[in-house]
Amino acid sequence: MVLDEKWAIFVQGGVSIVVGSRNAQNIPTLVRGVGCRVTANRKMVTVLLGRAQAVEVIESVRATGTVAAAFTWPKTHVSIQLKSSDAKLTQVKPGDVELVQRYADAFVAGLVPLGYAESLIRALVWCDPADLIGLSFSPGEAFLQTPGPHAGEVLDS
């Protein structure tokens, strides 16, 4: 599917990113993402992860190629989830380290007004730049997850 432009901007902003996968025994696991980029044609999404933190997700993606990624704007709880079964681990690209830095700044900027300490949020999304890895997938399905009566509705591309 092609991601709607609005959502492509959304997932690349200062949203909270959580990525899940599962192993061959259908046991799920999850990790926080530290940045996201979407290709110009909006067909491919890459979430950046710290390898050390994502050991289980990396193993699960290698084994099953499944992924579920939730992107949430903390202030409004607006949330979408992208799912795919063609996820692959990819090398970081030039500019990814800066992207992760920009992501941390934007995430902090969204949370400090809600009363969270900047040092706490920086610690939460800290990642060794030398340890970055990409998790790339073409979204097969997209769901609106904002709490409420429309949660779980399929987003049209």
Binding site: P28, L30, A68, H77, I121, G152
Partner: protein, 448 residues
């Protein structure tokens, strides 16, 4: 980082930073979502709030494996909890506790009317893993709550009667836990309500105010016999609401006039109520509150529950010793009051409510006791009485077990003092007290 215990990291479950959970559908599709609450139950169990028939819920009913990601609110250290779904509870203490907490979270996050607890999904914790990262150093604790509990427990030893026991408990909470507002309510099992006997920190003591079982944080704690702690206040658990509900439950009429307002702080943000239990009996509720969000922690809850348990045992032993050593039948001291305008005491037999010169005093058992004292005085001019004779008086309808007579007398004595009534009761010894009359009185029975 092996051998992590859930107790050691339960601050992560206070909800300061939301937790996320991953599940997997039978067809192998993973799902990740935020959860409003991951509630600590014990060293090997947590409960997740079930609010919507969402994917998480559908998945775990078929594939019980789930993984939660929780975050320490002070250090940002992340932990993964490997979970296995066990069952769902839709009533009882755990459910009510989570429901109260969720109402607070909803009101704090602008989700009132959206968040509603349908069930508490209970999971076994199979494994806890610390996620590598660069957490902040853990702040040094301000106080060790165990030392506070010890000091409170030692303080209670000085109590000689129920009144000093209640006052020492509240003083201990103030000096050892820095609690700014607290009250003790005793349970009236037959009427399924609680009445305030002692408080501190409020402009009005609220002694005599009532809360129905099941209403507000205090009433839910009594009904469930479980501690209820909320970090953010929600309208549906507030006093005003609780009082209105009590009145509605009781029916209208004179009830509005005879409702003593619960003390309470208008801008209460954090509340914690612990049941006072002894030998499986609910004796009352110990309650603390604060104008600050997230004021009371898991450790404070542990402390208050322990102090309430200590208080329960102490109340019971004081009652038993009062039964054993009740004073002899009172000396037949008499006294009459001459001069002065007689105050008019109106009594409504329907609920034993008492008005002194149109000013509401008290109702229920305490009202009946007051009436008995005045009637006895009116016929015999007696001024000295004993607890024993009150306990034996069939007209007072004191419940057999834990009659709480002492608590009723404290209530009556404090109300008379607060209302500056022209008569007082004064303790003269163990199980004995005197009626002090400053003016003559005239009794009026108001039939309805």
């Amino acid at each position: 980082m092996e051998n992590l215990s859930l107790e050691a990291i339960r601050e992560c479950l206070e909800g300061a930073i939301p937790s996320t959970v991953a599940t997997c559908a039978p067809d192998g599709t993973p799902n990740v979502t935020y959860v409003s609450q991951v509630h600590f139950i014990d060293a090997s169990h947590v409960a997740l709030s079930f609010q919507f028939f969402n994917k998480t819920r559908k998945n775990v009913l078929v594939n019980p494996h789930a993984t939660a990601l929780i975050i320490h609110p002070d250090t940002a250290q992340q932990y993964r909890l490997d979970l296995e779904y066990e069952r769902t509870e839709q009533s009882g203490p755990l459910f009510e506790n989570m429901k109260a907490k969720l109402a607070g979270i909803a009101s704090h996050t602008g989700m009132s009317g959206v968040f509603r607890l349908l069930g508490s999904d209970i999971y076994r914790v199979l494994r806890i893993t610390a996620v590598p990262g660069k957490p902040l150093p853990l702040p040094v604790r301000r106080k060790n709550p165990l030392a506070g509990v010890r000091a409170c427990a030692e303080g209670l030893n000085a109590a000689t009667d129920l009144e000093s026991l209640l006052d020492l408990t509240l003083a201990g909470l103030r000096s050892h836990f820095g609690v700014s507002h607290a009250m003790v309510l005793m349970a009236d099992q037959a009427a399924r309500k609680l009445y305030t006997v002692a408080s501190y920190g409020y402009r009005q003591s609220g002694v005599g105010s009532e809360v129905a079982f099941g209403c507000g944080v205090i009433g839910v704690s009594a009904e469930q016999r479980a501690p209820i702690r909320i970090m953010h206040m929600a309208a549906e658990y507030s006093y005003g609401q609780a009082v209105r509900e009590s009145i509605l439950k009781a029916g209208l009429g004179r009830h509005l006039e005879t409702a003593i307002p619960l003390p309470g702080i208008p801008d209460s943000r954090s509340q914690l109520a612990a049941p006072i239990l002894a030998a499986r009996q609910l004796l009352g509720v110990l309650f603390v509150e604060s104008p600050d969000d997230m004021r009371f922690t898991y450790e404070d809850e542990d402390a208050l529950v322990t102090i309430a348990a200590q208080l329960g045992t102490a109340i019971q032993s004081i009652q038993q010793s009062a039964d054993a050593h009740d004073g002899p039948p009172s000396a037949r001291a008499t006294k009459t009051v001459d001069g002065g305008e007689p105050s008019v005491i109106r009594h409504y037999p329907a609920d034993d409510s008492i008005f002194i010169d149109d000013d509401y005093l008290i109702k229920g058992v305490a009202g009946a006791i007051f009436l008995k004292l005045l009637r006895d005085h009116a016929t015999t001019h007696r001024i000295e009485f004993s607890n024993k004779e009150l306990r034996l008086d069939p007209k007072l309808r004191l419940p057999d077990v834990t009659d709480n007579l002492e608590a009723r007398l404290i209530l009556l004595e404090r109300r008379l003092t607060e209302r500056r009534a022209p008569m007082r009761i004064e303790k003269t010894g163990r199980g004995r007290f005197r009626l002090r009359l400053d003016r003559p009185f005239k009794l009026m029975n108001v039939a309805e």
